[in-house]
Symmetry: none
Subunit: 71 residues, 3 copies
């Protein structure tokens, strides 16, 4: 049961990170295309929000790795 | 059953954080592209709201880690 | 049960990475078409965000590989 949870949970975490960082990346490249001179500010906002998503997704992945060995 | 809940819950938390912070990040970079001179205010609102989402998602992840060891 | 989880999880991870990197790629090619002179900045933002998604998806894949051997 824990193993089933590990596999499904890791996959769901990847969906979340994919959709979220995907939206940021899409917005960022479109924004740089609209205002190339603001690319520094855009890049800063992009990296910060993407890193926040990455943090939650990696913690979810750690939960799943724990499940493999302790379940 | 608790282990199944831990894996799926961690994944769902990552979906939530990913979609939510993704929308914020997308809106922020597009807003900076539209009004580069307001980038400071945009960044402040972005960080505050993204941190609120991150807080809830991390607490959900902690609940899932507790489930692995105590369930 | 662990093997079922490995297969389902790997598939879900591929969905997530596909949706996310797909959005970035779509945004990037459209942005380069709109502002060809900003293609360097757009390419940088595209590679960075796509790499973040790839990181989570690869960790999810590693969880699934662990499931095959330890479940």
């Amino acid at each position: 049961m824990g193993l089933l949870a590990a596999g499904i949970g890791a996959g769901i975490a990847a969906i979340g990170a994919g959709i979220g960082i995907g939206m940021i990346g899409k917005g960022a490249v479109e924004s740089i295309a609209r205002q190339p001179e603001a690319s520094g500010d855009i890049r800063g906002a992009m990296i910060l929000t993407a890193a926040l998503i990455e943090g939650v997704a990696l913690i979810a992945a750690i939960v799943c790795i724990l499940l493999v060995f302790f379940a």
